[in-house]
């Protein structure tokens, strides 16, 4: 029986390897929109990325970059936390040149371990002060805004609050979902504590708990539950609702609500790019970071998330913070 199955193993094995290599000097779709020009000839320069941001979003950008520069790009896609742990484990022998993080937490972790290198200052200067580290360890290249998602059948637009502080009122008892252990919520709370002080921030959280705020594991499940009407509203990142609407259209019964522009509830959480201290290709890495901040790439991100090079209305400070 094994003998009869053996050709199948081998056939699958060959498929696997045959699909592994591809010539990337031709691009189409979103990648071609970012870089409409003909591709330059390939060089033997290369750069390796560990990306916690999803392939669905980033891959067209990297294809466009490879096409425009001739630098070949290798990517390990994964979860930001796990990739940060991997980089920590690999130390100065990590093959990665660049780490792209979904949320600030893993970047803070790597910075505290001294694993991040310094980004060229001309790249840092492309973004405003709040979107880069003062030591030049990271630079924001896109962002995710915190919003209040609500079910349009259960809550009317007129009665919606304008601040997260309103959510502790009796009116919203057991109607608000929070993703308490989720990475971006924790990051948001850290900035909240930073700006208002630990006492006010902690009191707000206690009040939310007293007000029977319901706990959900992540943003996606809140948006999904709000759409179904399982819960009235929840604190989430802005783009999850776009995705649900993109899929279900009018059947999805939830909308994003922007809390006040100056409210902490409208914080912009940036996704950061870093160059590792151990990088063997720092020039190529910096070149790629610069490319992420070019106009075509930033406008591509605008349609899907929020770009970091200005053009957004939130005034809140964005900070990458160390977690103790």
């Amino acid at each position: 029986m094994f003998r009869r199955l053996l050709p199948i193993f081998i056939a699958f094995g060959m498929f696997g390897t045959a699909c592994g290599s591809s010539n990337q000097l031709q691009i189409d779709g979103s990648a071609a929109e970012i870089n409409p020009d003909a591709c330059v000839a390939g060089t033997n320069r290369e750069v390796t990325i560990y990306s916690g941001r999803t392939e669905n979003l980033i891959e067209p950008v990297l294809e466009a970059f490879a096409c425009a520069t001739g630098i070949s790009v290798q990517v390990r896609w994964g979860s930001s936390t796990q990739l940060a742990l991997l980089i920590d484990e690999e130390g100065d022998r990590s093959p990665a040149d660049i780490f792209l993080s979904r949320s600030p937490g893993p970047v803070g972790f790597l910075e505290s371990k001294g694993l991040l290198g310094t980004i060229n200052s001309d790249i840092l200067n492309l973004v405003s002060n709040e979107n880069r580290s003062t030591e030049g360890r990271w630079v924001g290249f896109s962002g995710r805004k915190r919003v209040l998602v609500y079910n349009i059948d259960l809550v009317s637009e007129a009665e919606l609050p304008t601040s997260v502080f309103d959510l502790t009122e009796k009116k919203w008892r057991s109607k608000v979902a929070i993703p308490a252990t989720n990475g971006s919520f924790v990051d948001w709370f850290t900035v909240f504590r930073d700006q208002y002080g630990t006492d006010i921030a902690t009191k707000w959280l206690d009040d939310m708990v007293d007000n029977e705020a319901r706990y959900y594991p992540n943003n996606r499940s809140i948006v999904e539950a709000t759409g179904r009407g399982e819960i009235e509203m929840g604190l989430v990142n802005h783009y999850y609702n776009y995705q649900e609407v993109a899929v279900a259209g009018d059947d999805h019964r939830a909308k994003n609500h922007n809390l006040g522009d100056n409210d902490i509830g409208s914080l912009l959480i940036i996704t950061a790019a870093t160059v590792l201290d151990s990088s063997k290709n720092p020039d190529e890495a910096n070149e790629l970071l610069a490319y992420l901040l070019t106009a075509p790439v930033q406008s591509y991100f605008t349609n899907r998330t929020i770009p970091a090079r200005g053009g957004h209305s939130t005034k809140c400070r964005v900070a990458i913070t160390h977690r103790s």
């Binding site: 696997g16 699909c19 779709g29 392939e55 936390t81 252990t181 943003n219 996606r220 539950a225 649900e244």
Partner: protein, 530 residues
């Protein structure tokens, strides 16, 4: 029975295998020492004890229900005149392949308030469905996704048992229930405890389902501490592993007292007419199918269909195309089938040592292999990276290769094949072996002509369990796979994380179909008959 000493080469192989499987455990101990963790201090802290007891409670409940459900399904599909038996045998193993992070999410999507089932119920006048969460939700989802760990080995065992004892019992006046309790249950007990142990260990190491059901177990405490307080995460993981080791040891001391049943092939097994029990039996099997396979699939189909329709109508295009799905699917199939094959090569020597020779190295290796099943995948991945970085030339050679990925998968999942392989070894009648030896067959020839033909269907079922589980594996696939080797699960995860639900739905359906195909091949090969 004469006690034979194990051949020296076999003991050496067993020792090497157990060392390979001990990598993650050794890594954890090392990390506890170097990161200044304090597992003993944590042991009695309330922040450890509370999630720990929740973990234990959940694991016990899931073990009981998955064991009963798996055994009932196995008995019904192998021993009765249940309609559509063949179809059920193909579909019942499928829940194994749902990665819990999307399986549980799809389940919630279908069954929770306002979900797809609610729409259906509203149209027939029922208004509100209960909300699945907490202990109840985690218990239900894990039971529905874990019963195949019991179902597959027990069904394989039932198929193989001779019917003579049961017939005698019936002739002497026992009812079907009495026969089951006094004869069948004792005969399947070793398969049943081995399968239930896997359910228990899987439950204590699961993160996806408890996370989505908002039930705070030890794995959630570990997960939330990886970056914030790494020593705490390492200490908690060690506590989890030591606990798993204790459970494995307890199971061994129980299973040692269980009766062994030797069998020949080609004996007529007993079969019962269900009579007026046919309807309740169909409800149980059909209900399991509906909840564990149809319910999550409906949500996946909903996501996928919306995405495909949107693509047709010219909305935002999908971010995947058929070549990407095909690439991921072939990678998933090739790596998981290879893993199933290699896992067998790793566990068979250990099964021989432990089962036939009752060798101490064999028992030790057996426990190490099985306890490793409770180590979270991410720690296995990190530990392998740790060891390859510290083994010089050899590590460089292995880094970023398919071989290392397969090795990691085997370390993660060989436990699934271990129990069934052990039962398979024990069922080979001693006297056949002695007869072959008398006729002058050497050890290798006896293995090929006596052991292998008798064990082959059982081993194939064991590797089927490994293959289906490998197909859904996530952390190892993300961290250890060669760069540029996407699998279905990694692409599903990436899409799902950033709410590209249509893409995730499409690829998850491909995963379910691929596993259905593999399960069909196994049934076709009569692997579930042992």
């Amino acid at each position: 029975m004469t006690q034979k000493r194990a051949p020296r080469e076999l003991r050496a192989v067993g020792l090497v295998c157990s060392l390979a499987f001990a990598f993650p455990g050794l890594y954890l101990i090392w990390r506890n020492f170097t990161s200044g963790a304090d597992p003993f201090g944590l042991l009695f802290a309330s922040e450890t004890l509370q999630p720990f007891w929740r973990t234990v409670r959940l694991a016990i409940l899931v073990s009981i229900s998955a064991a009963s459900l798996g055994t009932s399904l196995a008995w019904l599909t192998t021993r009765t005149d249940l309609p559509l038996r063949r179809l059920w045998r193909v579909v019942l193993p499928i829940p194994l392949v749902f990665p819990t992070f999307i399986g549980a999410a799809a389940f919630i999507r279908t069954l929770n308030p306002g979900g797809l089932a609610n729409d259906l119920l509203t149209s027939v006048g029922v208004d509100r469905t209960p909300e699945l969460r907490g202990l109840f939700g985690a218990w239900l989802v894990l039971t529905l996704f874990c019963y195949p760990y019991v179902y597959l080995p027990v069904a394989a065992r039932l198929r193989q048992l001779p019917g003579s004892l049961e017939q005698s019992a019936r002739i002497l006046g026992d009812t079907v229930a009495q026969t089951f309790r006094r004869i069948v249950l004792r005969q399947i007990s070793s398969s049943l405890t081995a399968g239930t142990l896997l359910v228990f260990l899987y439950t204590i190491s699961d993160f996806g389902a408890v996370q989505l059901m908002r039930y705070d177990t030890l794995t959630r405490a570990i997960e939330s501490n990886y970056l914030a307080r790494p020593p705490m995460a390492f200490a908690l993981s060690l506590i989890l592993l030591v606990f798993a080791g204790a459970v494995v040891a307890a199971e061994r001391s129980v299973s040692r007292r269980l009766p062994e049943v030797k069998v020949h092939r080609a004996q007529q097994t007993a079969s019962y007419a269900l009579g007026h029990w046919r309807t309740p039996a169909m409800l149980l099997v059909g209900g399991t199918f509906a909840f564990s396979i149809v319910a999550p699939s409906v949500a996946l189909i909903d996501w996928a269909a919306d995405g495909l329709l949107r693509n047709q109508r010219g909305g935002r295009p999908l971010t995947i195309d058929s070549s990407k799905v095909f690439e991921a699917a072939t990678n998933t199939l090739s790596s998981s089938i290879l893993t199933g094959f290699v896992a067998l090569i790793a566990v068979v020597p250990i099964a021989f040592l432990a089962g036939r020779y009752r060798d101490r190295i064999g028992h030790f290796s057996h426990s190490v292999v099985i306890a490793t099943f409770a180590v979270p995948g991410i720690l296995i991945a990190l530990s392998l990276r740790f060891w390859t970085l510290r083994s010089g030339f050899f590590g460089d050679l292995l880094y970023d290769t398919l071989a290392l990925l397969i090795f990691a998968y085997v370390v993660r999942f060989a436990a699934l094949a271990m129990g069934t392989a052990l039962v398979a070894v024990k069922t080979v009648p001693e006297h056949l072996h002695d007869a072959a030896a008398t006729l002058g067959a050497d050890r290798w020839r006896r293995f090929r002509t006596v052991d292998l033909p008798l064990m082959r269907p059982g081993l194939l079922a064991a590797s089927g369990l490994v293959v289906l589980s490998t197909m859904k594996e996530l952390p190892i696939s993300l961290i250890i796979a060669p760069i540029g080797f996407p699998t279905l699960t990694t692409r599903i995860f990436g899409s799902f994380e950033d709410a590209f639900v249509a893409e995730a739905g499409i690829m998850a359906l491909v995963l379910v179909c691929a596993s259905g195909f593999l399960s069909w091949v196994l049934v076709l090969r009569r692997a579930d008959h042992l």
